[in-house]
Symmetry: C2
Subunit: 246 residues, 2 copies
């Protein structure tokens, strides 16, 4: 590859700025070009984490999602729309790297773990130099917030998206020791039904805004029916394993 610049996918961790790695911190503070995804019209979660850390002469590249929940994921237009968006940003980042610039792309949590950056990564990989810096996942932030270890001994841990069909959620929640569920939002009521059907309501915790100023940890059974119809973006459900402990 003859492209002189590098594109960094920088894992920012779960939310608290000092839970970013030393390597990520150095890259964020030094970057002349900083790109980040956000919902159009919002500041963006990733951008908020690095508030006060960027260079004075930074060039910010907000990448506004063309669609979030306006079109259902199952609609072919959803995929087409996002595909065009990622292709366009791939081109813009390539142009910068070709001119010898370094670009830090901010990623909440860990870039390779259910992140949007992966869609740029697969398009850039093999074309331009791309370096990924892992991060502390949001789920690590969530189980730490509960104050209880999540996995012991030979515990099996399962990670699920609440977007899955209800029967599949029930089957898998029943069949694991430890559990983390993400992408809850509008799926909260379905998820709660699944946890109850799997017989594990009393073991489940909802963690909102883990490691952030407004962190909240609530036993699932204490959340009212109405209150929890839609949970915030940063919501993770945790069930702790109960494996071997000397």
């Amino acid at each position: 590859m003859s492209i002189p610049g590098t594109i960094y996918g920088v894992g920012l961790g779960p939310g608290a700025a000092d839970l970013m790695s030393v390597r990520a911190d150095r890259l964020v503070r030094g970057a002349r070009h900083v790109a980040y995804f956000r919902k159009a019209g919002r500041q963006g979660h990733a951008r908020r984490i690095v508030d006060g850390m960027l260079r004075d002469d930074v060039i910010e590249l907000p990448m506004d999602y063309p669609v979030t929940t306006e079109i259902p994921v199952s609609d072919p237009r959803y995929n087409a729309c996002l595909s065009e968006f990622y292709a366009e940003w791939t081109q813009r980042l390539l142009t910068l790297a070709s001119a010898g610039e370094e670009v830090a792309v901010l990623c909440e949590g860990d870039p390779f773990f259910y992140g949007s950056f992966m869609h740029l990564y697969t398009r850039l990989s093999g074309v331009a130099p791309v370096v990924v810096v892992p991060g502390i996942t949001g789920m690590s932030g969530a189980w730490t917030a509960t104050g209880l270890p999540v996995t012991w001994g030979d515990d099996v841990m399962t990670i699920l998206m609440a977007t899955l069909p209800e029967e599949e959620l029930v089957r898998r929640i029943r069949d694991t020791d430890a559990l983390a569920v993400m992408k809850i939002g509008r799926n909260f009521t379905k998820l709660r039904r699944a946890v109850v059907a799997a017989g594990r309501e009393d073991a489940a915790w909802l963690v909102e805004y883990a490691t952030m100023g407004d962190q909240r940890v609530t036993p699932l059974r204490d959340i009212g029916e109405e209150a929890g119809a839609i949970t915030p973006y940063f919501s993770i459900l945790i069930i702790h394993g109960q494996g071997r402990r000397p």
Copy 2:
């Protein structure tokens, strides 16, 4: 609680020193008392990660496991022996905290994710102030090393210990999108048979010493039968999910 000192369980991340969080870095560099687990007679993996970072006047507290693989886990003496060990170290840390000292306990990866610190944590919690700092997990280091995103869209991810019975490994490896397997060591041959039986040999990668100087990433099918009878302590098997991608 009237105990004036604090005990910190500090997640060090997967191995590279600059993949520790800014918060962990600050605690490690500032700590007067630094405790860490190790196999007797060895330097210890956690201790090696912080080489060159400790205060000149640091007091080191190596916690030598009384047993690692000499007694089988199923033997009641194994549990009794470790239980006594954790109780003894709980007492020593409590004595320090009671005298107003702060102690950093070094934890590879994330302290609440299959870590030894949890056994001290549960004994200290509610008795003395204990603060846990999450870390980048070893599996994040491993999937980052493969250069491929591990989970997409609605992928299900399963985390297994290779110590589980072979039939259970087969069943669960067949029934997940993405996979991480730890505690491989002497279970490598069994694990490989399970991955083959689940029909996923071609999708599996073995990552050794992720993020460290001697990092090695190998497709499972390229590992010879003899070569892989026992893998190093830092070995993680990864299968990547193949979920939705616009």
